[in-house]
């Protein structure tokens, strides 16, 4: 089923209409093969439009970061093409980068600089004048809830606050494309919410955003479309409802096994709520819940493995 789905997605999902310049990002047949023969990306096609946010999901090693690093021109593709607002990102990486705000994974910050210095300096590096850089720095600092920390040295901030700085740096200059590689990893729930707000505002203002994440909830709440990468291939890409609708059995029954001395947690899937209820009655379950399938279930069905390697018995 997974393979059939895969073929359907790759041939029909991506809209073919519109000129190259209409799309914020147009990726075709992207392949990355490393020297040791590992194929990290195996023919990825993707299109993203202004004012749209797409989340890229997938477990560690699936090829998400490799994909984003090629998109941000950090890594040279082995094959395929990448266009950013009509600019060939493979041939003209610097020109393409000028259109992007990027939050790379594992980026560091300058601990000796204050928060405002950090933002002002990197705003200048994005081509803003002194006054504009200062204004943008103030705006971004406020939007990320770092106003109280403006004059603090970055080395004195918490890990979450530093992560917010990295996200803020991507927003400087209001780039039309944001590429965020796991931007909220390690943030506490309140910080994450603040970051979500900032990202959604950027989308509302017309920015195209591509975001990789390990958090299903983040993808569900933020995305216009969700892409799932598994073993180097984009095995699904579409709006959340559409992806959920592709599940044949979209109701999940979770229950404690009444015959297991430790009350092992079990799950099984049904095509309808009524069917799930019948199963409950048949098995005379006392401790159970019936919920709609989630993005994780979609991932499981498509990729044949659980997201983030969770173990679930059935």
């Amino acid at each position: 089923m997974t393979e059939d789905f895969l073929l359907v997605r790759e041939t029909s999902e991506i809209p073919r209409s519109g000129s190259v310049a209409d799309a914020a990002v147009r990726v075709r047949g992207l392949v990355k093969r490393y020297k040791d023969g590992t194929e990290a990306n195996r023919g990825i096609d993707l299109e993203l439009h202004p004012g749209e946010l797409i989340s890229i999901l997938g477990p560690n090693g699936a090829g998400k970061t490799t994909f984003l690093r090629q998109l941000t021109t950090e890594l040279r593709p082995t094959g395929g093409s990448i266009q950013v607002f009509g600019v060939d990102a493979v041939a003209g990486p610097q020109q393409a980068r000028q259109l992007m705000g990027i939050t790379p994974q594992d980026a560091g910050v300058f601990g000796s600089l204050t928060v405002s210095e950090h933002f002002e300096m990197f705003a200048r590096l994005k081509g803003l004048g002194r006054i504009a850089a200062r204004q943008q720095a103030v705006e971004v600092i406020e939007s990320l809830g770092l106003a109280a920390e403006t004059q603090k040295r970055v080395s004195l901030l918490s890990g979450g606050q530093r992560s917010r700085i990295l996200i803020g740096l991507a927003l400087l200059g209001r780039p039309p494309l944001l590429v965020l590689d796991e931007p909220t990893t390690g943030l506490d729930p309140a910080s994450r919410m603040a970051v979500w707000g900032v990202i959604r505002r950027a989308v509302t203002d017309g920015a195209a955003v591509i975001l990789s994440t390990h958090y299903i909830e983040e993808a569900e709440r933020l995305s216009d479309r969700v892409g799932i990468i598994s073993r180097g291939r984009l095995i699904a890409c579409g709006p959340l409802d559409e992806l959920l609708g592709r599940l044949e059995r979209s109701y999940r029954l979770s229950y404690r096994d009444p015959f297991d001395p430790f009350g092992k947690l079990c799950e099984c899937y049904f095509a309808s709520f009524v069917e799930a209820q019948r199963a409950v009655a048949r098995a005379q379950l006392s401790e159970y819940s019936i919920t709609r399938a989630t993005l994780e279930d979609v991932y499981f069905k498509l990729a044949g493995e659980h997201f983030a390697g969770e173990q679930v018995t059935e």
């Binding site: 021109t73 950090e74 790379p104 980026a107 200048r124 590096l125």
Partner: protein
């Protein structure tokens, strides 16, 4: 214009970062070389000639340039690369050459402070000199470029932070002690002498000593240092890329 602004930004970021690293900078650029000057003077003889003392001061200036340009600059470049800070520059549409030029500007600033202070220190220790300033500035500039090139190459090629910092430290000090900087070349064994006199620090020390004595005859050294600077920087620039294969 944009490129110039980028270079100044990189320079300013490094300058701001130095606020918390002023101690190690003073140690590398001034304290260590000054101590070496006093040490060399003490062990040479009780009555070191004026010319010998000029060589010691020239040696200390070159020592300072070597420590700040190779060890210190290399360390900063390595730190940026291995702590993820380089990604901030690489993702900001900054050209790799502007990044390196910003560092070179930073190295010039350090070299100017260190050389001026060491010259003043020489005066303070009673050394009589009438340095020819223009050639001295040229020699210092070319030496910094040449030595920075080596730092850039190590920072770009090192496989780990530890490997890189060990190499920059070893080279920063080693190039000074291997070359006849604090002692005359005749004191070296024959086999080593020829090689050591080809080191950039040997040319730099000879040229600095000549300019400290008030002479302008440093043409040959300037040509060699220019050549070395072009080669090392060209190699360093070619290795500094934002994009991996």
């Amino acid at each position: 214009m944009r490129r110039l602004s980028d270079i100044v930004c990189v320079f300013r970021i490094q300058l701001m970062s130095m606020r918390s690293e002023i101690g190690p900078f003073l140690l590398a650029a001034l304290v260590f070389p000054s101590a070496m000057y006093l040490f060399a003077k003490a062990v040479s003889s009780t009555s070191a000639t004026e010319q010998t003392q000029l060589r010691f001061l020239a040696g200390s200036i070159v020592f300072s340039l070597s420590l700040t340009s190779i060890s210190w600059l290399g360390y900063l470049l390595l730190e940026n690369r291995f702590t993820g800070r380089l990604k901030l520059f690489a993702t900001s549409a900054l050209a790799p050459s502007s990044y390196i030029c910003g560092f070179l500007l930073f190295a010039f600033a350090q070299a100017s402070i260190a050389t001026t202070t060491l010259l003043l220190m020489g005066r303070l220790f009673g050394l009589q000199m009438r340095p020819s300033l223009l050639p001295l500035a040229l020699v210092v500039t070319l030496s910094v470029l040449c030595l920075c090139g080596l730092g850039v190459v190590i920072a770009a090629r090192a496989r780990s932070f530890t490997e890189g910092s060990l190499l920059t430290d070893a080279l920063g000090a080693g190039l000074v002690f291997l070359a006849p900087v604090y002692y005359p070349p005749e004191m070296l064994p024959h086999g080593v002498r020829a090689v050591s006199q080809l080191l950039p620090t040997a040319f730099a020390a000879r040229a600095v000593e000549t300019t400290l004595a008030g002479s302008y005859h440093v043409g040959a050294e300037l040509i060699v240092l220019s050549f070395m600077a072009v080669v090392s920087l060209a190699f360093g620039f070619s290795l500094t890329r934002w994009r991996e294969n």
